[in-house]
Symmetry: D2
Subunit: 327 residues, 4 copies
């Protein structure tokens, strides 16, 4: 297996939060950011966000920029979260016109990704959820979600594009509809074979998932892991930190399960380096994962199989000390 690394373009630029809406850094030139992404050892793909990075208007120019540095379009993430119109929901909006726009934005990005020789849409319906109890008709919303996502899936299917649904327990809504691996899997199963799941490691940590188990579950229930986003956090919020800043063993376990389940998708970085050098932060994550992958390849999957078959935390601790931690 050759592992394919990619990054989300916007991670290299300015980032803001609700207290500092102008952002912590200066706005970077997009072409510069693309060059930075391409300069990271082993990175061959890039993810683009709708509105922010890619529209039907700048398609050709983007293609040239990517070609110039030899980057593939790993996926497009259509914008269903970054404009006022999505504020009360995109795919589940009570306003039919907004739902239609959400579908239309997806279709345009399906066309765009095809034009860029990509075949993956990473859909993150971040505004589709709710904030308060006793304010929402959950059946109505989930029905709309199935309808609108279904329309996107059908459009994608005949264009050989796959939809990877990205879950997150909360933020920007207090509760998201696509909240965890298993509820997203339930929806992907209904929507058909070109619809699967994106695991963002940080979103999963925050949901108290063990990502290794989530990968295994997606394998079992229809080979539904379509995409992976990597970042680290303190497990209580989507801190979007450099991979390996907090966790070690779980990342190694993730790489093992990706190998075991014959995952062929992208290993993509998705961070929010608010105050750090963006390119350096992304590069650090790639290098960390490459280092762990190197250990995995050296030790070999069969050896980990034997370790796991022992089901003994004492044996695993020995392995951690001997193979994962420096001596």
């Amino acid at each position: 297996m050759t592992r394919k690394y990619s990054v989300i373009l916007g991670n290299l630029g300015n980032t803001c939060d609700r207290f500092l809406s102008s952002g912590y850094k200066d706005v970077l030139n997009k072409d510069m950011m693309i060059k930075q992404a391409a300069s990271i050892e082993g990175v061959t793909g890039i993810e683009l966000v709708g509105t922010w990075d890619i529209t039907l208007q700048n398609l050709e120019q983007m293609q040239q920029s990517l070609n110039a540095v030899n980057l593939q379009c790993a996926s497009i993430i259509p914008d269903h979260f970054g404009q006022k119109k999505w504020g009360s929901g995109a795919f589940v909006s009570t306003d039919k016109a907004i739902r239609d726009e959400a579908v239309e934005e997806t279709k345009q990005m399906i066309d765009a990704v095809t034009a860029l020789d990509g075949n993956l849409i990473n859909l993150w319906p971040g505004q589709d959820g709710y904030d308060y109890p006793l304010c929402t008709d959950y059946i109505e919303d989930r029905t709309r979600l199935l309808d609108t996502l279904g329309e996107c899936a059908a459009y994608a299917k005949i264009r050989n594009v796959r939809l990877a649904l990205e879950f997150k327990p909360k933020e920007p809504r207090n509760h998201s509809y696509l909240a965890r691996t298993s509820d997203t899997l339930l929806i992907a199963q209904i929507l058909g074979d070109n619809v699967g799941v994106t695991i963002d490691t940080g979103h999963a940590f925050m949901a108290y998932e063990n990502v290794g188990e989530s990968i295994a579950m997606l394998k079992m229930f229809g080979d539904k892991l379509f995409h992976m986003h990597f970042n680290d956090n303190y497990t209580h919020w989507d801190d979007d930190m450099i991979v390996g800043s907090i966790h070690l063993v779980e990342y190694f376990e993730i790489l093992y399960w990706l190998e075991k389940t014959a995952y062929t998708g992208w290993i993509s970085m998705d961070q929010y380096p608010y105050r750090e050098d963006g390119c350096g932060a992304i590069r650090s994550s790639v290098l960390f994962l490459q280092q762990l992958a190197g250990i995995l390849d050296h030790v070999g999957v069969a050896e980990i199989d034997r370790l796991i078959a022992r089901r003994d935390p004492v044996a695993t601790s020995k392995f951690i000390r001997e193979q994962l931690v420096a001596r």
Copy 2:
């Protein structure tokens, strides 16, 4: 709709924890506990735990005790958690003999519940999970889970008994296989129409679920809500407190969604009154829920429908102040 209230017998007795294994109270006489349960206004059902309360040996005696106070057997909860042999898993144990015992215990309790004129088994595979990363073959375990639970489901099916699978994110294992509504639903869908889900409100709060949404989801995806356990907590752990000690609006929303989805199962109390009077604590929860149910009936579901259709937290706040909080 007539709401049916029940309690778990053991909640009325002694309870312990890992620091005080002898328990915080004295052991109560079981017949006394049954009489206490029957004395709670509106309680007509009781849940019995295998080994602790019910075995094939004391079946007849239990029947007499329940008849004497006019209590129905709401469910039996087979013991898959309270003996050393289950310590490393029951349904997913690596030891075939243990898995067989787990199935056998279930079958015996299916027979027992039938003998007691009940038709519901509440299965809580609390020891089926894992504690450490990089120690477990998740695919092997989940396959075993499907196999052994499948055998139980088949046995139950021909006896017209329903299996309600109870999930919990963790405890006693650091990670449970049946962890949340949606992963349990996935398994129930595979196992057939006599297998569904138990929502324990405290387990769901702890998993950051909005229980109203969970009920709606189970309705949509196969009418899979079979049973409900009630208790309250601070949302970070399974504190098993008196209902209404912390939350208000969410319980009201739960009762609304039970009504909307035409739930006909039990409203059962499941608490751990470590230091309080057990019967008083359980009774308090029943009274709290009955009070909220009274408000719901008085206001009417149609009125809540209209409120929810507004999707306006300000309107909901007005409703809370005017209908739920005393003036």
Copy 3:
């Protein structure tokens, strides 16, 4: 005791988050917002944020606007979080010039609040913290924090202004230095008698504090509760919701302890009504607290004293059903 209610002006306006930096609403006219605040029954005070609402330049105009609607300046919250320069810390910045600016901004706002006939500065050093382990000299930072805050405290002291330090476990930093009641109290004790603590109920819930206990602790250790911000959340994040959307009993307990400890400060609303009507959301919180305060006054503190002296959750549950929940 007469309770004094106030609101933070900016809560009535537009709010944004990291995904939607332009905000969920249109920008409101500031004079309109002031009129809205004044229109909420029982609200007599307003909190102003430096830079956003108040500067030395618009002081006179603001005074006229407040006078016109008869609102007092409850506090000024100097801006130590909303500009790029504070991004890596204000009071603990490694750059002496930035620390000086943080102190200068505070001094200007001390002058401003005095000019507005107020006497309270609510200091929230939100950017003073850190994001990653193994990146920070905690002793150096805390020493700086004591130095710079000490300079502010001395300046405030001779102007009869009190500094209320507002804690929050995290956001915008992954770890804040002023994180919880007790670590903030430790600093307030050192800085002198005109320095105390602001409890934001949502920040405290998120820190797993029982606010009633926090109020009691501040009373015991120097009468250090200077200010209160009110909002509600799911206890896992600073959701900044309408008061009473999730919790009931804890707010009642808070009002009881404010009364017991003879708190004479403001009861101020601090929310982020991203998608709701701002004024309606703030007003809802005020009305909710006034309703609970009405119950408290009706029942009487002595009655709650007796309830608490019983230390019996069953008795408290009875009280909740009979006095707090509608019947």
Copy 4:
């Protein structure tokens, strides 16, 4: 600096939880456990729990057992949690007789530790807290806590024994009075110079503390770090796992700050190996910490000083990859 490693004797034996009160293992012979403890490379100290391990009756015998294997008594942990009488509080019990017993148990253990040539009491008032809101007089309780602990401190002082107060946010109570570093520090400051704090790494992780920062704070505010307990967890509960099973960087940072602050106390293991081999699990933690300490010594504190002075997560990530993770 020579690091001193110790273990809590009971960790090597049987452990139970609320569902399996008989425990997951067989009861081990105490002498065997002492020999096992002594057999762990580098372990020279042992902590004994009152009632469970040590009483005034078996003092001489214990002394012989420890002498035989050359183990020092690192501390005694008096039993204020494991008997029914402590169920509603020990040091803050409303019953004066119970409070007196809590003090008496402490005094006896002060005598015992002196007899065993030790000088440290680790006090964990685990039952001193509360479970429900609106049930407790927090001022009364905290006053009692100061009184009773004060009596213990005075008794210890003239015997040259130090009291280390161990905090924990919750369990067995839903809220503990000694909950976090800073509230415990506040109490230690009042009680005098022979009273300090124990940091249990797992309790601190669960409280969302960065232990490095906690150590630094205790240094600054009176050199109050008296003792350290080590274990790992998923940061949401006191899972009491093998050190290094989840976290890496934070343990390294802890060892660095212990060095920086010239900590001379014990590095003691405190785990609950429910299902694993107890001795193997404890030994694994010791070996993990020794390995990290080896890296720290090799790299040198001055080098980490320089790294930290950069305050750059990208530089720290490089350090993690180059010095902490295997290559």
